[in-house]
C-alpha cells in the first residue's frame, strides 16, 4: 500500500486526491497511525491549484458532492479520508452522482459517515445546553464525536437572532462566537465563567421539571440511554 500523508486541511486533502488518483494502491491518511513495514509513505505538499482542479471536476459531475465530502471529512471515522477518496473515485468513474448506489460498498461507507455527522447534528440541536453569563452572553460547552461547530451554528443563529452566544467544542479547542450580528469560528480555550444571578434558579427549575414529568411506574431506562447516549450526559444539567 502507498500511504499518502497530508496535513489535515481541505487543500491538503484535495491535493492528496489529485496526487493519488491514478495510484491503485493508494491509501489516504492524515493521522500518524503506523502501517505495516511493506507500506511506503508519500508525503503530500498542499497545492491550491491541484485542489481547485479536483473540486471543479467534482462540481461538474455532481454539484452536491463537495457537501457530501465535507460531511464525511467531519465524521469520526478512522479511515474517513480514505473513504472520501474512494467516494470521489466512484463519482469520477461514473461521471455523475452516485449517492444512491447503495449496493456499492465505497458509496455506502461514505454515506454512512455522512449520515453519522447529520445524526449527531440533530442530537446536538437538542442536547446542547446554554448557560447565561453575567454579561448576558449564552455559553454552551460540548464534546461532539464529529466536527460539527460550523454546521450547527446556523440553527442557533436563526432562533437566537438577538442574543449573543458562544458554542465551544472543548475537544477540538474551538468555538463559534456570535455577537448578535456576525459569527466567527475561532480557536478557544476554557474561559473564566461568571454566571448570571438567575442561572442557578432556572437550572434547578429545569431539574424539577425533568423529575416531575417522568412517569415512575413505567421505567424504560434502556430506551432513555438509547436515545440519549450516556456520553452526552456530561453537559446536561438534568443528569447531574
Amino acid at each position: 500500500m502507498h500511504i499518502y500523508r497530508f496535513p489535515a486541511t481541505r487543500v491538503g486533502f484535495y491535493t492528496a486526491v489529485f496526487d493519488a488518483y491514478a495510484d491503485k494502491e493508494a491509501f489516504l491518511s492524515c493521522s500518524d497511525r503506523q502501517f505495516s513495514l511493506e507500506d511506503s509513505e508519500i508525503s503530500v505538499t498542499p497545492d491550491e491549484e491541484k485542489a481547485l482542479r479536483v473540486k471543479r471536476k467534482l462540481k461538474q459531475y455532481d454539484k452536491d458532492s463537495l457537501h457530501d465530502i465535507d460531511y464525511v471529512l467531519r465524521s469520526d471515522g478512522k479511515d474517513k479520508e480514505d473513504a472520501a477518496f474512494r467516494y470521489i473515485r466512484c463519482i469520477c468513474r461514473a461521471k455523475g452522482a452516485v449517492r444512491e448506489r447503495f449496493a456499492d460498498p465505497d458509496v455506502f461507507k461514505a454515506q454512512q459517515y455522512r449520515h453519522k455527522v447529520a445524526w449527531e447534528m440533530d442530537k446536538m440541536y437538542g442536547f446542547l445546553r446554554f448557560a447565561e453569563t453575567e454579561s448576558g452572553v449564552l455559553y454552551a460547552p460540548y464534546e461532539p464525536d464529529c466536527d460539527l461547530t460550523e454546521l450547527i451554528v446556523w440553527h442557533f443563529i436563526a432562533r437566537f437572532s438577538g442574543e449573543r452566544f458562544v458554542i465551544h467544542d472543548k475537544k477540538r479547542k474551538k468555538a463559534a462566537v456570535y455577537n448578535g450580528k456576525d459569527c466567527i469560528v475561532t480557536e478557544f480555550h476554557d474561559p473564566d465563567l461568571y454566571l448570571s444571578a438567575d442561572e442557578k434558579d432556572f437550572e434547578s427549575l429545569w431539574k424539577t421539571y425533568y423529575d416531575a414529568v417522568n412517569i415512575q411506574s413505567r421505567p424504560h431506562e434502556k430506551q432513555m440511554k438509547g436515545s440519549m447516549p450516556v456520553r452526552y450526559w456530561k453537559y446536561l444539567p438534568e443528569k447531574h
Binding site: 448506489r101 449496493a103 429545569w206 412517569i215 431506562e221 434502556k222 430506551q223 432513555m224 440519549m228
Partner: protein
C-alpha cells in the same frame, strides 16, 4: 414560578403523550426569539424512555369536571395550583434560551367554565407571542365545549391543537368522563380541520395550525378492542386530517371501582403504534389488518402477521417488485425500500448486497427472492418459529441496539414504531 407550583402543574400534565414539535416551519423575526424546526427536536429523555421536546404544563389543575381516571377531578383531595400568564411566559423564555425545550405544550383543567378556561389559555399564548416575542413551537390543548370563535382565534396563534378523545367509545366516555361527550370532542376537531382547508383553498396567507391536530386515546382502561381503536384512528386520519393519534397504555393513577388496578402492558401500545404506522406510511387499510372485534397479534408485528395470512403474495423479487409491494415485506421499512429501489437501478441485487446495505433480512428473507434465489425456509412451522424468535429478539435487544450508531435505522424504527 416556584418549584412547588411547577411540580404540581407538570405532574398533572405528564400523562399526555404527545410531545412532538414537528410539522411547523414558523420563522423567527429579527431580534425575536425562537423558530420551529419542521422535523421536530428532542431535547432530553426521561427514565421512562419518553422524549422531552416541549415544556408540558397545565395553566391550572383546579378542575370542575370529574373524569373517573383523572387525579385532578373535582372531588379529589390533591394540592391545587394555578400559574399566571407571566410566570408561564418567563419560564418558557428562560428554558428556551438555554436550549432545554423546543416550545410550550399548554393545557389546563377546566376552571370555572370551559369558556373561561379557553379565554385564559388564549391570553397566555397571545402574551407569549406578542409581549415576549416568542416564535417557537406552541401546542395548545383544546377545551371541550369552548366556543368556536375562541378556538378559531387560538388556531391563528399556535402551531398545533389537540382534543384528547381519551376513551375510544361513547359508552366508555359516559361511564368515566360524564361531562365530556363524543360531540364536544369531535365537533371542534372537525371545525378546525375544515377551517384550515377553507383557508388553504382560498390561498389565505394567514397561518392557521401549521402543524395540524393530534389526539390521544387511553388503551386498556375500557374494553374496546384494537380493531375498534384502529378503525377510529383511520377515520380520524381520513376524515379529520389528523397528524397523529397517540396511544397511552393505561396507568392506574386513581383507584376507582370502574377502573382496572393494573397497568396495561407496553406491548399492546407498541403493536398499536406499529399498526398506526402501517395505516399512515405503508398503504394499508385497517380491514387488511384485523376485524373490528379482533385484537392485534402479540407474537408477530402486524405486518408480519398480515404476510403470514397471505402466502399467495410471496415471495416477491426485490429486483422487480413495485415500491408498494416492497413496503409490504416484513422487516422492510420506508428507508430500506427506498435503498432497494435506488440501488437496483444500477445493479441486480443479491442477498449480499441487501446485507451490505443494512436491510434487515431476519424476517424479510422468508418473503423475498434476490435475483431468483430464495434464502428463507419453506417449512411452514419452522418459518413461524424463526419469525417469532426474530420479534422476541428485537424487542429484547431494541434498547441495546439503539445506542449503537451502526444500527441507526433500527434506532429510528424503535423510536417511531416503523416496521
Amino acid at each position: 414560578m416556584t418549584p412547588e407550583t411547577l411540580k404540581i402543574l407538570t405532574e398533572s400534565a405528564k400523562y399526555d403523550v404527545s410531545c412532538s414539535s414537528s410539522g411547523s416551519q414558523r420563522a423567527n423575526i429579527k431580534g425575536g426569539i425562537g423558530n420551529a424546526a419542521p422535523a421536530g427536536i428532542c431535547h432530553s429523555f426521561t427514565p421512562d424512555g419518553r422524549c422531552i421536546s416541549l415544556l408540558k404544563i397545565l395553566l391550572s389543575n383546579d378542575c370542575i369536571y370529574s373524569c373517573r381516571y383523572c387525579p385532578n377531578r373535582a372531588e379529589a383531595n390533591v394540592p391545587r395550583a394555578t400559574a399566571t400568564a407571566d410566570e408561564i411566559c418567563n419560564l418558557v423564555i428562560g428554558f428556551y434560551k438555554r436550549n432545554y425545550i423546543e416550545g410550550l405544550f399548554l393545557s389546563s383543567a377546566v376552571v370555572k367554565s370551559p369558556h373561561y378556561t379557553m379565554v385564559q389559555l388564549l391570553s397566555v399564548v397571545k402574551k407569549l407571542r406578542t409581549e415576549y416575542g416568542f416564535h417557537g413551537y406552541i401546542h395548545l390543548k383544546g377545551i371541550p365545549h369552548a366556543e368556536q370563535d375562541l378556538i378559531f382565534e387560538a388556531g391563528k396563534w399556535v402551531d398545533r391543537m389537540s382534543y384528547n378523545i381519551e376513551l375510544p367509545s361513547e359508552n366508555s366516555l359516559k361511564l368515566l368522563a360524564p361531562q365530556k361527550t363524543k360531540r364536544s370532542l369531535l365537533e371542534p376537531m372537525h371545525d378546525l380541520h375544515y377551517k384550515k382547508l377553507y383557508l388553504k383553498e382560498n390561498k389565505s396567507k394567514e397561518k392557521f395550525l401549521p402543524a395540524g391536530q393530534t389526539t390521544q386515546m387511553i388503551v386498556g382502561a375500557t374494553p374496546e378492542t384494537d380493531g375498534k381503536i384502529l378503525r377510529l384512528t383511520q377515520a380520524l386520519y381520513r376524515n379529520y386530517g389528523l397528524k397523529r393519534v397517540y396511544y397511552s397504555s393505561y396507568v392506574p393513577v386513581v383507584q376507582d371501582s370502574l377502573l382496572p388496578d393494573k397497568c396495561t402492558g407496553l406491548l399492546r401500545e407498541h403493536r398499536l403504534y406499529q399498526a398506526d404506522w402501517l395505516l399512515r406510511f405503508y398503504g394499508f387499510d385497517v380491514d387488511e389488518l384485523l376485524p373490528s372485534e379482533g385484537n392485534l397479534s402479540e407474537e408477530y408485528d402486524p405486518k408480519c402477521a398480515w404476510a403470514i395470512r397471505h402466502p399467495e403474495l410471496f415471495p416477491v423479487e426485490v429486483n422487480t417488485a413495485p415500491y408498494e409491494m416492497l413496503l409490504r415485506i416484513p422487516g422492510v421499512g420506508v428507508k430500506s425500500a427506498y435503498r432497494i429501489l435506488s440501488a437496483r437501478k444500477y445493479t441486480r441485487l443479491t442477498m449480499d448486497d441487501l446485507v451490505r446495505m443494512k436491510v434487515v433480512t431476519k424476517r424479510a428473507r422468508h418473503f423475498i427472492t434476490c435475483d431468483g434465489k430464495f434464502f428463507g425456509t419453506d417449512d411452514e412451522s419452522r418459518r413461524r418459529n424463526l419469525l417469532l424468535l426474530a420479534d422476541k429478539e428485537e424487542n429484547a435487544a431494541k434498547a441495546e441496539q439503539l445506542s449503537l450508531f451502526s444500527d441507526a435505522p433500527t434506532a429510528f424504527s424503535a423510536l417511531t414504531g416503523e416496521v
